[in-house]
């Protein structure tokens, strides 16, 4: 129990030095108000032992010190920015101690077709900051080739560079061409990972797209890159480069448009190029009749263009080649398919013959129209034999069109919008990239997944606008991250983190705030999504649009906390009806905003974690946990570190304690199907917090002003700290958890809205516009800093996490950026690690992306940060080993992984994806139960459970382990 009744000292932090300033924090600025605060504190402490006069002296001296600091503020800020110019690496480090930051893992798959290696053994997926090579056999990450995309010095640019295309080299299949929008072109050997450091650079305004073809140059097959680059706002050009031209930066200009094409595709060894600009297609055919091509400069194309009925979002070419009499190859005919923004698919059969001889524009060519999709077609592809089309979009349905009969086949209810479809080189499988940051390989015969790669699903700041936004819609997708990612970790399972996510990026960012009805359980050690559970209302099988075309908004999970033993999870979700529905409900002088607020649904839910399969089961749902005349926002939920108890704080100014009790029905204890006792959660105590006005001088605060607050239990669970109040003055109340009595109230520890409160031993850390570390025992502020960024967005994205193991805490905040108000693309964050007792930061680290969540690593002295690029960073004290996945290549395990030993053959296929949707009880219309065809399906975490059950010296006998493993593989896979 923290002793609170010790004599108080009122001295403010007495030692402060100039070193502590960082890009997001500055030494606390003492304003005149501070004087009054100090005097208040003196008044409070007068009966106590400390002489007041001495305190005054101390205060005076510190004030004078800080005022000089404050004057230096501008200088310091520029210093902070200067620090950031060291840009070649992704990070800027200013280490003062042993803390270090790992390389990031994960990222978000880009809207670029995944690439099969020619033998179909590997799948190359383009992420926002890396290329990742996965084995299709066991879904394991083989290699991660990190690309330094973001430059830290480009802080003021609104559009930051991003990868626009990655194409397999046509002549050397172990090479990959990757184009970045700022003109950098990487030539990577994906089998070894070489080439990431030495990009070619071409001088362009912006690269829009790129394709690679292998062209016969001097009777040698060489890669020629066709790069679509932006010229002016409304014009673009195609330039061809080969390796030589890339070195000299002088490509061959092939065509210039006075429009602005976005898509570029080529086929048949460069004999055909297709570029799509909004509603026009440009087709270029190679003119090199008869003479051999000696260099890139000899490439000549004849371009035709014609209008298409709709905005093109995707296209696929299917050339049929024939051998000429002379032994050369020429195109016999070309079939082209385009997918459009309004849902139609147009098929142009034998296009070349229909093109007029001259490049006249606007000649109508009649395509065949296939219309099933309601919204934009995100991807359409020809099957290998050309008899089928495969298309997908926001309906989350994979559609197979049989072209001869017009019959459609469906693979419905996938987990998110289908972004990309790729047909494998042999045509035996499809790779799908879904919007929930996952990719899967489906076998064409059975339509069952054989490979599944699922990344962290948090929202990212995307580089390209969605294909949906080409057409004006009644909603607008969100282009900023306005709410932090809600994450937590299970204290009993350190390798897993729980993230609140939505049904894919596009589906979840349609409302005012992102809707996040799902929990994704993400395993950091294997770096795979383990499962997803709905914890708020969601229905992936129903249409996600109203008949008016507005998106249906799902609830947003705002808080989440595990109980100390990891058996219970408390979650808060919020939903309010969209204002457009509420026009008829207006009465009197109410605004739609108020009416919507009245109809808010805020639920506090308690979930029981199943010990066996970690599934969540809803135990209690509290409809209006905090209410006045309407449901009140729940500001924070904290978990008791000693017992199964939660505390919640709402805007009604009440702290409620929640504890489990045996469930009774009509006075009888109710039991589950196996006779086990059922429990239910209920409010065991409610403590009304004192309003600031009641404390000392009566400051009238209208009840309508927004309140903020946060909760933290002391380490022994005996005391709950509740910081709550309007931004004009929040108060920290110290509540005895045993009796519910308010032991003490401490005003003036915060400035502005409360963003977080944490307690470590006797220190209380309060994050508001100031970062204050306050010692409860000695009743003094140990040190405090002021945050530079105080905007609304920054308020949301400021994080505080405490690691009790290392007695340290981390604060992450966005770095102020004068050129943008909201946290959009290009915003950066800074993370500062403090040791509780030391005022000097242990680590100051700038991150190239906004950090959306920070959480303490379970059972180790570090932190885990998730950024707006869906990457995970591990921040550890040196000596600690981050529990993060290493790609197989880094472990030198690739060979053994590809050797078909039974254990390594743990095909992740059905299992992982089944688990992912286990809540929805996997079922596909097209799939049949023939498990016997498949090999044993074992999720890696099941193996991990066996092998990581105990430390090596305490392991079960080897026979037992063998039996366990054998039983895993020998049993029929159970459908979960």
């Amino acid at each position: 129990m923290v002793e609170l009744r010790t004599p108080r000292k009122t001295s403010k932090a007495s030692k402060m030095d100039a070193n502590g300033e960082t890009a997001s924090l500055k030494k606390r600025k003492r304003e005149p108000k501070e004087e009054t605060t100090a005097s208040q504190k003196r008044q409070r402490s007068k009966p106590k032992t400390q002489p007041a006069a001495a305190n005054g002296n101390v205060d005076d001296t510190t004030d004078s010190q800080e005022s000089t600091l404050f004057e230096n503020k501008d200088l310091q800020t520029t210093n902070g920015d200067l620090e950031l110019t060291d840009a070649s690496n992704t990070l800027t480090t200013c280490n003062t101690s042993a803390w270090k930051v790992s390389n990031p893992m994960g990222g978000r798959m880009l809207d670029i077709d995944p690439i099969f290696s020619l033998d179909e053994r590997y799948l190359l997926i383009t992420y926002n900051t890396s290329i990742q090579v996965y084995s299709t056999e066991d879904s394991l990450l083989v290699r991660r080739i990190s690309l330094p995309i973001t430059k830290l010095d480009s802080g003021t640019e609104l559009s930051s560079p991003h990868i626009v295309a990655s194409v397999l080299s046509a002549s050397a299949p172990e090479f990959l061409w990757v184009a970045c929008s700022d003109g950098r072109i990487w030539h990577l050997n994906w089998a070894t990972g070489e080439g990431a450091e030495t990009p070619f650079t071409i001088d362009v305004k912006k690269v829009l797209d790129m394709t690679v073809e292998s062209v016969d140059i001097r009777d040698k097959q060489e890669d020629v890159l066709f790069i679509l680059q932006k010229l002016t706002k409304s014009s673009a050009q195609i330039v061809a480069y080969d390796l030589k031209a890339l070195r000299t930066k002088t490509g061959k200009l092939i065509h210039t448009y006075d429009e602005n094409p976005q898509l570029l595709r080529s086929a048949a060894g460069g004999r055909l190029i297709v570029a799509a600009a909004k509603e026009t297609l440009h087709i270029g055919t190679l003119k090199s009749k008869g003479k051999t091509v000696k260099a890139v400069d000899d490439l000549e194309y004849a371009f035709h263009s014609f209008g298409v009925p709709d905005l093109v979002t995707c296209l696929d070419i299917r050339p049929t080649l024939q051998t000429t009499k002379k032994g050369g190859i020429e195109i016999q005919f070309v079939d082209l398919v385009i997918g459009c923004a309004r849902g139609a698919i147009y098929v142009y059969g034998d296009l070349l013959s229909k093109l007029p001889g001259s490049a006249t524009k606007g000649v109508p060519i009649q395509p065949r129209k296939l219309h099933w999709h309601r919204r934009a077609v995100h991807s359409v592809k020809w099957s290998e034999d050309g008899n089928y089309l495969i298309s997908g979009g926001a309906e989350t349905v994979l559609v197979l069109w049989q072209l001869d009969t017009g019959k459609r086949d469906f693979l419905p209810h996938l987990s998110a919008t289908i972004e990309n479809i790729v047909v494998s080189p042999k045509g035996s499988s499809y790779a799908l990239h879904l919007d929930d940051n996952s990719a899967m390989v489906l076998s064409t015969a059975e339509m069952k997944p054989t490979t599944y790669v699922s990344g962290i699903q948090s929202l990212v700041l995307s580089d390209k606008p969605s294909k949906e936004s080409l057409v004006r819609r009644v909603w607008r997708s969100v282009d900023e991250i306005s709410t932090p990612l809600i994450t937590t970790s299970n204290p009993t399972n350190p390798s897993q983190i729980f993230l609140c996510v939505g049904n894919g990026q596009q589906a979840s960012s349609t409302g005012n705030a992102p809707s996040t009805p799902l929990i994704q359980v993400f395993d950091v050690s294997s770096f795979q999504g383990v499962s997803k559970h709905p914890i708020a209302r969601t229905n992936p099988t129903d249409t996600n649009m109203t008949s008016q075309g507005a998106p249906i908004i799902e609830p947003r999970v705002t808080k989440m906390a595990f109980s100390h033993d990891g058996k219970w999870l408390a979650s808060v979700d919020e939903w309010q009806p969209p204002e457009r529905d509420l026009e008829p409900l207006l009465t009197g002088s109410k605004t739609t905003c108020e009416v919507s607020r009245e109809r808010r649904e805020i639920y506090l839910k308690f979930w029981e974690i199943d010990a066996e399969d970690n599934s969540l089961q809803l135990v209690s749902r509290i409809n209006e946990a905090h209410f006045t005349t309407e449901s009140e926002t729940i500001l924070d939920v904290a978990s008791d570190p000693i017992s199964s108890r939660f505390a919640s704080l709402g805007t009604d100014g009440v702290v409620r304690f929640w504890s489990p009790k045996l469930r009774r029905k009509d006075g009888l204890a109710s039991t589950g199907p196996e006779g086990q006792q059922l429990r239910t959660w209920s409010c065991s105590r409610a403590v009304e917090l004192p309003a600031y006005g009641q404390l000392e001088e009566a400051v009238e605060v209208s009840p309508k002003t927004p309140r903020s607050g946060a909760l933290a239990f002391s380490e022994d669970g005996s005391v709950l700290f509740a910081a709550y109040g309007p931004s004009s003055g929040a108060v920290v109340a110290v509540i005895d958890t045993a009796t519910g009595a308010i032991r003490d109230t401490i005003p003036d520890l915060s400035r502005g809205d409360i963003r977080g409160v944490e307690a470590v031993s006797s220190s209380l850390i309060i994050l508001s516009e100031d970062l204050t570390v306050y010692d409860i025992v000695s009743d003094e502020v140990q040190y405090s800093f002021a945050l530079k960024e105080t905007s609304e967005a920054a308020k949301q994205m400021t994080h505080l996490a405490v690691n009790r193991e290392s007695r340290s805490f981390a604060v992450a905040a966005p770095i102020p950026n004068s050129s943008q108000e909201k946290l959009k693309k290009g915003a950066k964050s800074e993370l500062v690690v403090f040791s509780v007792n030391e005022e000097v930061p242990q680590l100051i680290q700038t991150f190239p992306q906004v950090i959306t969540a920070v959480l303490p690593a379970t059972n180790s002295a570090g932190f885990v940060a998730v950024d707006a690029a869906a990457q995970i960073w591990s921040i550890t004290e040196s000596g600690e080993q981050a529990q993060m996945l290493q790609p197989l290549a880094d472990l030198n395990m690739e060979e053994s992984a590809s050797a078909v030993a039974p254990v390594d053959h743990a095909v992740e296929d059905g299992e992982a994806s089944d688990e992912e949707m286990q809540d929805a009880d996997a079922d596909v219309e097209m799939e049949d139960d023939d498990y016997d065809v498949h090999q044993a399906v074992v999720a890696p975490q099941k193996l991990a459970e066996i092998f990581n059950a105990a430390p090596a010296f305490a392991m079960a006998p080897i026979e037992d382990i063998f039996n366990q493993v054998a039983s895993l593989f020998s049993t029929r896979p159970s459908t979960i």
């Binding site: 129903d542 008016q548 249906i552 009806p577 059905g910 089944d914 949707m917 079922d923 799939e927």
Partner: protein, 556 residues
């Protein structure tokens, strides 16, 4: 991989004060009442059936085993009637008593019966043979009426008796004298029992308001005495042998024998509690009282979980269990008026059949032949399926591969897909108006208010409420209005009803002039809402008054 289509989840409303609980449903399922009036309407003083036997007795003979647990005895006036549990019919009447008979008890093996009588005689009859019961043994040791005769649950030849001569005696069947005599009660001893699982312990309750526990091994008097305020009418040891119930006046006291202290006094009855019985394998206790009430208690916290009222004071009751699982079969209640009421609970397959028959009867009466045909065809199909499965199973001996005829639902672990109801299909496919019409149809047999509420809430979540309400004519909008009027006063439905009402006003108010029906319904709704508003105002006023009182009280 792909998610399965789930039907719309029904909302879970907060439980309100008096829904029918599962327990009440259970006890309500004891219906199918059969009344049996005793000869000359003698009051039914005792009902008993042989309790569970402990193995050894069960395997005496095939006949006995067949008859086992099929008999129960009802004592009324100078008669003991023996009934069949299965058939609920009177099998035999034993009338060879000189005076009022008491406590006719059948032994656990179902062969002999013992009863006491007012004259002080105790007689043992042979139950099995002939119509006229043979007297096997007679004791005439008690000089006052013998009120209790009971067989030991463990030893077939041991029995006890309690008499108005203030004594409790222990008997051995072959001998003529009691093997033990327990003296100590100061008044009539009207109840007694063997303690289960404790061979030598007996318990008795007397009109001297004491419950005494006797030990056959201890030489002296009672080993434990509980003094009550009122005479003891009945004692009932609970299984386990550590807890004892005693009916004392209108109360039932719960006594803990291990801690030797009373645990609780249950005071749910208004008049003297006359009988207690175990039910549901000892997890419930049923009590009957002179106030005509039967109450069912759970045995952990002794809350009343169910109850029912009978027309006459209850003198005796028993919950008769039968079958392998000792399920509650009959609730037998004997009354002052001489009526024995037998209420029976159908279980398992029997209940299923009875239900199906009831449905068919109802349809036959109403003349809906098409539905009947449907039921018939469904039944025939079930039968065919069963038959074909059976034939396959029989084939199993000789063939190599058996292809099961129906889906591998249980074996494969894969659930069969739930078929969506029409309204669920409408909802899923966006025909919201049709869906709403279906669930709001008050006359539909499947109508449930909570389904309607779930659909309305889901429509609000899907921003489709207005779409579902729009575009109706006079005929189709009226059911909506009526539903809203019906439920707008229910606090659980109010918020949704208010939203719907707002929308309806917004859409249809312009047509009120043209339709008197619509105008009427709107007027009715206004009336209902204003009444609710008045009630709310009254509540607020009352609240204010109470609060001022509370403040006054706190100051004082």
């Amino acid at each position: 991989m792909a998610a399965e289509v789930q039907p719309l989840a029904t909302l879970k409303l907060p439980t309100v004060v008096s829904p029918i609980t599962a327990e009440q449903r259970y006890w309500k399922s004891f219906k199918n009442q059969k009344s049996h009036t005793s000869t000359a309407a003698w009051p039914i003083s005792h009902i008993s059936f042989p309790g569970s036997t402990n193995g050894s007795a069960a395997s005496h003979s095939l006949v006995a085993a067949a008859k086992l647990n099929d008999l129960f005895a009802v004592t009324s006036g100078p008669r003991v009637d023996i009934f069949s549990i299965r058939k609920r019919e009177l099998l035999k009447t034993i009338g060879r008593f000189d005076s009022q008979a008491h406590s006719g008890e059948i032994r656990a093996d179902g062969r002999v019966l013992v009863a006491g009588e007012d004259s002080g005689k105790m007689q043992v009859f042979d139950v099995g043979t002939g119509t006229r019961a043979v007297i096997l043994k007679t004791w005439h040791v008690h000089k006052q009426p013998v009120w209790v005769t009971k067989w030991s649950p463990t030893e077939l030849t041991t029995l006890m008796s309690c008499s108005d001569d203030k004594t409790v005696r222990l008997w051995d069947l072959p001998s003529n004298a009691p093997s033990r005599l327990f003296a100590g009660h100061q008044d009539y001893v009207r109840s007694g029992a063997f303690m289960p699982d404790r061979n030598n312990l007996l318990v008795s309750g007397s009109y001297d308001s004491t419950v005494r526990v006797w030990d056959a091994r201890a030489p002296a008097g009672s080993v434990l005495t509980f003094k009550h305020a009122d005479p003891i009418e009945e004692v009932l040891p609970l299984p386990g042998g550590t807890t004892l119930l005693a009916a004392t006046g209108s109360a039932i006291s719960v006594l803990d024998l291990v801690a030797a202290k009373p645990l609780r006094l249950i005071t749910n009855h208004q008049k003297t509690v006359t009988s207690l019985s175990l039910a549901s394998n000892g997890r419930r206790v049923v009590s009957g009282s002179l106030d005509g009430h039967v109450k069912v208690f759970e045995t952990t916290n002794w809350n009343v979980v169910s109850g029912s009222k009978y027309p006459s004071p209850i003198l005796s009751l028993s919950v008769i269990a039968a079958g392998s699982g000792h399920e509650d079969r009959h609730l037998a209640v004997g009354m002052q008026s001489g009526v024995l009421s037998l209420r029976t609970r159908l279980s398992g397959a029997t209940a299923e059949k009875a239900r199906a028959r009831a449905v068919e009867d109802a349809l036959m009466v109403s003349g809906a032949s098409s539905k009947l045909a449907k039921i018939d065809s469904a039944k025939a199909k079930r039968k065919r399926n069963a038959a074909s499965n059976k034939s396959m199973a029989l084939l199993g001996e000789n063939v190599d591969v058996i292809i099961p005829t129906d889906a591998p639902n249980s074996a494969g672990g894969r659930k069969r897909r739930v078929k969506l109801k029409p309204w669920q299909r409408d909802f899923r496919e966006g025909r919201y108006a049709a869906c709403l019409d279906a669930v709001l149809d008050l006359s539909s047999p499947e109508y449930q208010p909570v389904t309607a509420l779930s659909v309305l809430v889901a429509l609000r979540h899907r921003s489709a409420l207005r779409e579902a309400l729009e575009g109706r004519d006079e005929v189709t909008v009226l059911p909506l209005l009526k539903w809203v009027i019906k439920y707008i006063s229910d606090p659980r439905y109010a918020t949704v009803c208010v939203d719907v009402a707002f929308q309806l006003f917004d859409i249809y108010s312009e047509y009120v002039g043209g339709s008197s029906e619509l105008a009427d319904q709107f007027a009715v709704m206004t009336g209902k809402v204003s009444r609710e508003v008045e009630k709310a105002q009254m509540a607020i006023i009352t609240n204010g008054m109470v609060q001022s009182l509370m403040i006054g009280g706190a100051e004082a």
